[in-house]
């Protein structure tokens, strides 16, 4: 009856899938990005500690961290608790079809759990006040505002930024009496971290060996498999989530991992930098911090990845103070623009450097131009698939699909 009754998602229909497959094969993306190019990440800090809104393109996530006193788990009596909650309902309107909703929130929750809790990124022992009696329970609420693909990265970045931004009140425990100090009495204390993990998502298609990073909803839904890798700033792997039906060889996964490691490092650097800027602003503005209201209209309080990281590359040493001035005083806006303009030509090298620097595997560093190596890899993938489908063909009538694919492959070859 209604067109929107099942909340139609892009990328679920067959024509859309074949369109994306074909585009990926030609090394094109619908929004004009290259296969290893990410969308810009924007951070906005709220007025309260531990409130962060992250946007990557149209994907928007709001994260809020709260804490309260509680009893520890009996198995770990000297550790605080970290609770991660994902909220998909609400303004994102993702909750209509129950099956996908459950699946989505489960995968997202488990990714966050593995990235932050299982990898022990937050020092939970420092959250213990009295063993077996009082510990801090940290609760992270991830509210999805809008879903346009790559909810994984958006929520891990938001969670990391919120946890790093968060401060808990000071507390003393003497003579069986617990005393929690207000912000006026004693300054709030930031959480302690052992390492800083962030995730990067790749999509892999049967039609091409080249994985694409930071997929939109269209690309994500049409993907044959999605790989989510979490790395910390020391470039250690924290979690790997690879699923789907596309045959992926070890090489592809290693390629993804290498790029993801550098990307994660620069993301953590970005979050740190943004936090520094936010702190300065708080010192300057006093109680005039307008928090998340800054999301509306003016872009001054949005801290964007491209802008911050490109500034840093141009002038590594005096960057922080200068940027402060540039960001805060609107009178100097022209200068900002100038810098940006200057940045344009060099962007191609510097902007993508974090992703390219370690490159794909050393053998095919220039696989960008779809030269021989990548062709080889596609044909490899193709072979693998054919073998697979042969096996399948014995059992299931999958031949139709197979012919479809081979058709499109031929077409694409002509194009190239």
């Amino acid at each position: 009856m209604f067109m929107n009754s099942n909340l139609f998602e892009p990328g679920k229909s067959k024509p859309e899938r074949s369109f994306v497959q074909l585009a990926v094969k030609q090394n094109q993306r619908f929004d004009g990005r290259r296969s290893n190019e990410c969308r810009d990440v924007e951070l906005t800090f709220g007025a309260d500690w531990g409130t962060v809104a992250v946007s990557m393109g149209d994907t928007k996530v709001l994260t809020h961290v709260t804490c309260d006193m509680g009893a520890p788990a009996t198995s770990r009596p000297n550790e605080g608790k970290l609770q991660l909650n994902v909220n998909l309902g609400g303004v994102a309107f993702l909750d209509e079809v129950q099956t996908t909703h459950d699946q989505r929130s489960l995968t997202l929750n488990s990714l966050l759990e593995r990235t932050f809790r299982s990898s022990r990124s937050v020092d939970l022992e420092s959250l213990c006040v009295a063993a077996e009696q009082h510990v801090w329970c940290i609760r992270v609420d991830v509210n999805v505002l809008n879903h346009d693909g790559n909810l994984y990265d958006a929520s891990t970045i938001a969670t990391l930024a919120a946890l790093m931004h968060f401060r808990r009140p000071d507390v003393t425990f003497t003579d069986d009496e617990l005393r929690i100090y207000t912000e006026k009495e004693r300054e709030f204390i930031p959480l302690l971290f052992l390492h800083y993990p962030v995730s990067v998502t790749y999509c892999i298609y049967k039609s091409s060996g080249q994985p694409i990073v930071d997929p939109t909803l269209l690309e994500e839904n049409a993907a044959d498999s999605v790989i989510v890798l979490s790395f910390n700033s020391y470039q250690e792997l924290c979690s790997l989530n690879a699923g789907g039906t596309a045959p992926t060889n070890v090489r592809t996964i290693m390629q993804c991992a290498r790029n993801a490691a550098t990307r994660c490092k620069s993301l953590v650097d970005f979050v740190r930098k943004a936090l520094l800027l936010d702190e300065e602003r708080r010192l300057q503005g006093g109680r005039l911090v307008n928090g998340l209201v800054a999301l509306i209209g003016n872009t001054q309080h949005k801290l964007s990845f491209n802008k911050l990281m490109s500034c840093q590359k141009q002038e590594p040493q005096p960057a922080p103070t200068e940027k402060m001035e540039l960001d805060n005083e609107s009178s100097e806006k022209p200068e900002v623009e100038e810098i940006e303009v200057k940045e344009e030509p060099s962007k191609q090298e510097t902007g993508d450097a974090p992703m390219d620097s370690s490159g794909w595997l050393p053998q095919d560093e220039d696989s960008q131009e779809l030269s021989i190596p990548s062709d080889a890899s596609t044909s490899k993938a193709g072979k693998g698939k054919q073998n697979r489908s042969k096996n399948k063909a014995n059992k299931k009538p999958q031949q139709k699909k197979q012919t479809d694919h081979s058709d499109s492959e031929e077409e694409a070859r002509q194009y190239i």
Binding site: G46, G90, V91, A92, F93, L145, V293, G297
Partner: protein, 227 residues
């Protein structure tokens, strides 16, 4: 930081910041901010189906955690106002879904949430009999009336009031009061809020006109023609 006591705080809004709903708005009044989103008419579950009108679903989500009693009350207030204003006969056997997400709570969140819902309905193109606006007002310790108070001002209050009015006849759609006050004071504050609601309606008009590409001057002219 002393704000005028008989003025509304500065209002801002941004239309359609979200891509996956029929209409959405980011609305702020002073430092209080919310996101509202609407979807409709959409398919309704059979248990909620009604043959002579559409079913209204209204959810309010706090910034952290699950909705508690306080949020449920707020949600009920928004739903009550919306049900009065919604032209539900236009789409029987369907559902209208309104979601409000809190961003920052810095005072008078009840009134802001109602205004946010109204703007979301307007921009989402859902049928309304009339638009509506809510105003919050308190009596502070000195017995003064403070219109649209900030959070710092609400710490010491004798009574608080929230009124919602419709745009056509100026009827009262919602009254919420808390604390002790005299009837005369109630009447005074109702007048105060009624006049303030006119300002909010003016804000709606100018913002929607701006969004749809009409300059404010022409919007005003059209208004004069109407009256």
């Amino acid at each position: 930081m002393d704000v005028e006591k008989d003025k509304l705080r500065q209002m801002h809004c941004e239309f359609n910041p979200l891509s996956r709903c029929d209409g959405s708005v980011m609305y702020s009044q002073g430092a209080t901010g919310l996101i509202g989103a609407v979807l409709g008419p959409i398919e309704v579950k059979t248990q909620n189906l009604s043959i002579d009108g559409s079913y209204l679903e209204c959810n309010y989500r706090p910034k952290a955690g699950l909705p508690q009693v306080k949020e449920r009350i707020r949600e009920a207030a928004i739903r009550d106002v919306l049900e009065l204003a919604l032209l539900s006969e236009a789409h029987p056997r369907s559902k209208m879904s309104v979601q409000i997400q809190e961003l920052e709570d810095r005072g008078s969140i009840d009134a802001c949430a109602v205004n946010c819902a109204c703007l979301a309905m307007l921009i989402g193109g859902l049928p309304l009999k009339c638009s509506f606006a809510a105003v919050h007002c308190i009596i502070n310790e000195q017995g003064e009336y403070v219109l649209d108070p900030d959070q710092s001002e609400t710490l010491h209050q004798r009574a608080s009031f929230t009124f919602a009015f419709d745009s056509v006849e100026g009827n009262l759609l919602l009254v919420q009061t808390k604390g002790a006050f005299k009837i005369a004071q109630f009447n005074d504050i109702e007048c105060l809020c009624r006049s303030a609601s006119a300002e909010i309606f003016q804000f709606y008009r100018s913002q929607v006109a701006k969004y749809h590409g009409r300059s404010e001057a022409t919007a005003e002219k059209a208004e004069v023609m109407e009256t």
